[in-house]
């Protein structure tokens, strides 16, 4: 076991974790933040995407101990005072989801994409979201949602 300190959605947690525990399970089981989903266990699907020190990462590819000292934002930390983040609102407005399982990861990847490139072309959006699978929507409404936020 190893002691780690992480700040998740603005709250600092100290916890004992097993060295081999994946970050996504620490978030889900350790902190009860089940908005971050597990879809594949092989870093293929992106449902577990979070922000770690401002960068989007697949939280199944990191060990919890690697997040020691880091600042993490999960889907639960995106809305402020009950107000949806513009990306969350856009996914709802543009029907960028059906079953919704990919949605938290997709939204986290999309917000990170816009931070790196505030005015992406449609192609840029597609290339930016290539690491996130969706099985329901055929992606078009997801791309529309991201473009709507980018274009204000």
């Amino acid at each position: 076991m190893k002691r780690i300190t992480v700040t998740v959605n603005g709250v600092t947690h100290e916890a004992e974790v097993e060295e081999r525990e994946l970050l996504v399970y620490f978030l889900r089981e350790g902190l009860g933040l089940t908005g971050t989903n597990v879809g594949c266990d092989t870093s293929s699907c992106g449902t577990c995407t979070i922000h770690l020190d401002g960068e989007s990462v697949k939280s199944c590819t990191l060990l919890a101990v690697q997040a020691d000292g880091a600042e993490i934002t999960t889907i639960e930390g995106l809305a402020t005072n009950g107000e949806l983040h513009p990306m969350q609102a856009a996914f709802q407005e543009h029907h960028g989801l059906q079953c919704g399982y990919c949605t938290p990861g997709m939204i986290m990847a999309a917000t990170s994409l816009l931070k790196e490139n505030p005015s992406p072309s449609e192609d840029d959006i597609r290339h930016g979201l290539e690491g996130n699978l969706c099985r329901c929507t055929g992606y078009h409404n997801i791309v529309k949602a991201v473009a709507a936020v980018a274009n204000g």
Binding site: R28, L33, T34, G35, T36, N37, V38, G39, C40, D41, T42, S44, C45, T47, T74, I75, E76, L78, A79, L84, Q88, A89, F91, Q92, E93, H95, L97, Q98, C99, G100, Y101, C102, T103, P104, I107, D123, R126, H127, L129, E130, G131, N132, L133, C134, R135, C136, T137, G138, Y139, H140, N141, I142, V143
Partner: protein
């Protein structure tokens, strides 16, 4: 129809683009999927699965698993309290393997422990004495003399024969073809999960992601030896389904562990386990012969379809009936002779997946129509127009098509849609295969292909198909409140939203709440066969219509109505001739695919899909568009990449690293034109929507790749070597 420019309403009536009822919790990460559930004193379950596709079991030693600290139960077939087998149509699948295993991944033992890792370690300590046998993996060899019998009744699960018209019909122009379809996976993103909570009354509360609560309830109750009233199922959040959640997976296992330990037990499959935990789309082999006159009018179709049912029956007997019924395509076929069989093998069990038997044969009949067009030097749309099925004609089953069958209109609509500009990509990211394309786009050719797909809506062959809705109107500080209670599974398609739209439309009340689905109300039937908006929508409409008559009573207190909706009855198919009015309704879609194909590398980039689809009545434009996009993505997947690869009964690619499916970069642009021919037998004239895009897109894409490459391409998913001809 386009939703761009359509105002999206937070609340709304039918025909309007309405925000999803579950959209807000889903974008906030607050929507509780089955994998998110928890309870005090909860244990974790795990499953030991067979490493062999076929083996006898001589003994199971659980001693070393039981002695592991933290383990609370290790159960085998001997611990199944009730019926030891289950199955939707044929109860042939053991809850836990008894004396033999029939496919790789078959559950053999289950464990409950205080931590998921402990449960997994305990699984590894169970010793099973297997005597492996050679697996039977060829569905045709399965019914040849000398093949090992996998089940007492033999290996033929069902044969459907359809004889229509003159069996000796001859024609001037004859084209033949053999086609094959690989095993596709539903690959819903949320792996199977459930939480079972033992109740004080000796019963069980099972929270599970499923498509049909009541068919689960019946099977779970029988296997637990409990009355259905004590076997209460609750729908938890469902992370996609597409047919893969129609059969039981862990339902009985997790309930057995909970009853045995007296504690809540949760099970969550990993992605690898999910590949073994649900049925797949049947692989198919098809032989076709089409005869036509010199004008391209069909004289006859002869087809033989072989489906690999895998180790257990699942819904195979219904899938094979669909394959036979739709084998000739949406065309006027005066003489038809179709034989479709499904057999048991030691491959994974196959069952429902979006398109359900119609997908496989659509690849066959549409490939044949293109061969016929080529033979006669006719345009692919023209050959289809000359044979288009229409209202008033008869299907090969003899059934009169009495609902809309606008095949001609859909094809003409498709022909009128503009083609995308034929520009040679300059940006290497747009080459087939992207920047790693080593021919730098020099080998790229553009191809165009069309296809029509069709399928029935709701259940067939005399099945008593119904749905139940309980609707209540009460009053609180916010005014009148409508509550809808059904057992219908929202799996992401947007059912809850459309049910609320229906209630608002019928009652002219704005505040509508859809309660969680469970078995405390009558069955809604399955969320499958593109049927829920029609069936449960019909039940909600009926209950609301009755309440409307009683609205004056609502002043005095809550009023409530429970309504059961049934579609018109259907008939069994005659076992010898395959004749009968077996279907409720048909739905159609036509697709035109434009693909850029690197003919040297064998890589495809789908550029655009244009589609015309008749939906009867648009209930929610935004949701409709999403269903069509998603259906196309899965059809594209089957055409170009998705296949569970089998080798001697073993799955070679049980992961998302190796089972490829479309990413956002693979998805073509979609151009759609929706028509609304009211269906006379349906509520609001609506029709089913979800499956048709998946059926037509696969053959359209393959036709486009054939057009570009000049290769025959008789198997999906296409392989680069087939396209490049190496």
């Amino acid at each position: 129809m386009s939703t761009s420019g359509t105002r999206v309403l937070p609340l709304g009536r039918i025909g309007e683009s309405v925000l999803r009822a579950d959209g807000r919790p889903k974008v906030r990460g607050e929507f509780a999927y089955a994998s998110d559930l928890g309870a005090d004193r909860m244990l974790w379950g795990a499953t030991l699965r067979s490493p062999h596709p076929s083996a006898r079991i001589r003994g199971i030693d659980i001693t070393r698993a039981l002695t592991l600290s933290g383990v609370h139960a290790v159960l085998t077939h001997a611990d199944v309290p009730g019926r030891t087998t289950y199955g939707m149509e044929i109860s042939d699948q053991p809850v836990l393997a008894i004396d033999r295993v029939r496919y790789e991944g078959e559950p053999v033992a289950i464990v409950a422990a205080d931590h998921p890792e402990t449960a997994r370690r305990a699984i590894e300590r169970i010793v099973v004495d297997y005597l492996p046998e050679d697996p039977l993996t060829d569905p045709e060899r399965a019914i040849m003399p000398g093949a090992p019998r996998l089940h007492p009744g033999g290996n033929l699960l069902r044969r459907v024969t359809i004889r229509h018209g003159d069996p000796g019909a001859t024609a001037e122009v004859v084209v033949r073809g053999e086609y094959a379809v690989g095993m596709q996976d539903q690959a819903f993103l949320g792996p199977e999960a459930a939480l079972a909570v033992p109740a004080e009354d000796g019963g069980i509360d099972l929270h599970v992601a499923t498509q049909w609560l009541h068919v689960d309830q019946g099977q779970v109750a029988a296997c637990l030896g409990l009355p259905p009233s004590l076997t209460r199922l609750h729908l938890s959040g469902v992370g996609g389904a597409f047919g893969g959640r129609e059969d039981l997976s862990m339902q009985v296992h997790v309930a057995m562990l909970a009853l045995h330990t007296g504690r809540p037990v949760k099970m969550v499959y990993s992605r690898e386990e999910s590949f073994f935990g649900h049925v797949h789309r049947h692989p198919a082999r098809m032989e076709y012969e089409h005869g036509a006159d010199r004008d391209g009018r069909l004289v006859y179709v002869r087809a033989r379809v072989v489906l690999d049912g895998g180790a257990y029956a699942s819904s195979s007997t219904a899938v094979v009936a669909n394959a036979a019924t739709f084998a000739c395509g949406p065309y006027d076929v005066p003489n038809a002779e179709v034989e479709a069989i499904v057999t048991y093998t030691n491959n994974p069990p196959c069952g429902a997946m979006r398109g359900f038997g119609a997908v496989q044969v659509a690849f066959g009949h549409e490939s044949q129509m293109d061969r016929l067009a080529a033979e006669l030097a006719l345009d692919p749309i023209e050959i289809r127009l000359r044979n288009a099925l229409a209202t008033g004609m008869r299907l090969p089953t003899g059934q009169l098509v009495d609902g809309p069958a606008p095949v001609r209109e859909l094809l003409e609509g498709l022909r009128d849609m503009p083609l995308p500009p034929d520009v040679v990509p300059v940006d290497p990211r747009e080459f087939p295969g992207g920047v790693s394309n080593s021919t730098h786009g020099e080998g790229t050719r553009r191809g165009v292909g069309v296809a029509v797909g069709f399928k029935n809506i709701a259940f067939a062959e005399g099945f008593d198909d119904y749905s139940t809705a309980r609707v209540r109107i009460s009053r609180d500080d916010g005014g009148p409140l409508v509550e809808i209670h059904t057992a219908a599974a929202e799996v992401g398609q947007g059912l809850e939203t459309v049910l609320a739209q229906i209630a608002r439309t019928e009652l002219s009340l704005e505040r509508v709440r859809v309660l969680p689905a469970d078995t405390q109300v009558g069955s809604a039937g399955s969320t499958s066969a593109s049927r829920q908006t029609w069936m449960t929508g019909g039940a909600v409409q009926l209950a609301c219509a009755r309440l409307r008559e009683r609205l004056h009573e609502a002043i005095d207190g809550p009023i409530e109505e429970t309504a059961v909706y049934r579609h018109r009855p259907t008939q069994a198919l005659d076992p010898d001739t395959g004749q009968g009015d077996s279907l409720v309704a048909l739905a159609f879609a036509a697709h035109r695919a434009v693909c850029d194909v690197d003919v040297e590398l064998g890589i495809v980039r789908a550029v655009e899909i244009a589609t015309t689809q008749d939906v009867g009545r648009v209930m929610n434009p935004l949701a409709l568009e999403g269903q069509i996009h998603g259906g196309i993505a899965q059809g594209l997947g089957l055409a170009l990449m998705e296949e569970i690869q089998m080798e001697e009964g073993r799955v070679r690619n049980a992961s998302f690293t190796d089972y490829l499916m479309p990413t956002v970069l693979d998805m073509p642009q979609v151009r759609m034109r929706i028509s609304e021919t009211p269906h006379p037998h349906a509520p609001y004239g609506l029709n089913g929507v979800g499956e048709m895009p998946t059926i037509a897109s696969t053959p359209a894409i393959v036709a486009a790749v054939r057009d570009a490459s000049g290769r025959p391409l008789t198997r999906v998913p296409l392989r680069p070597s087939d396209i490049a001809g190496v």
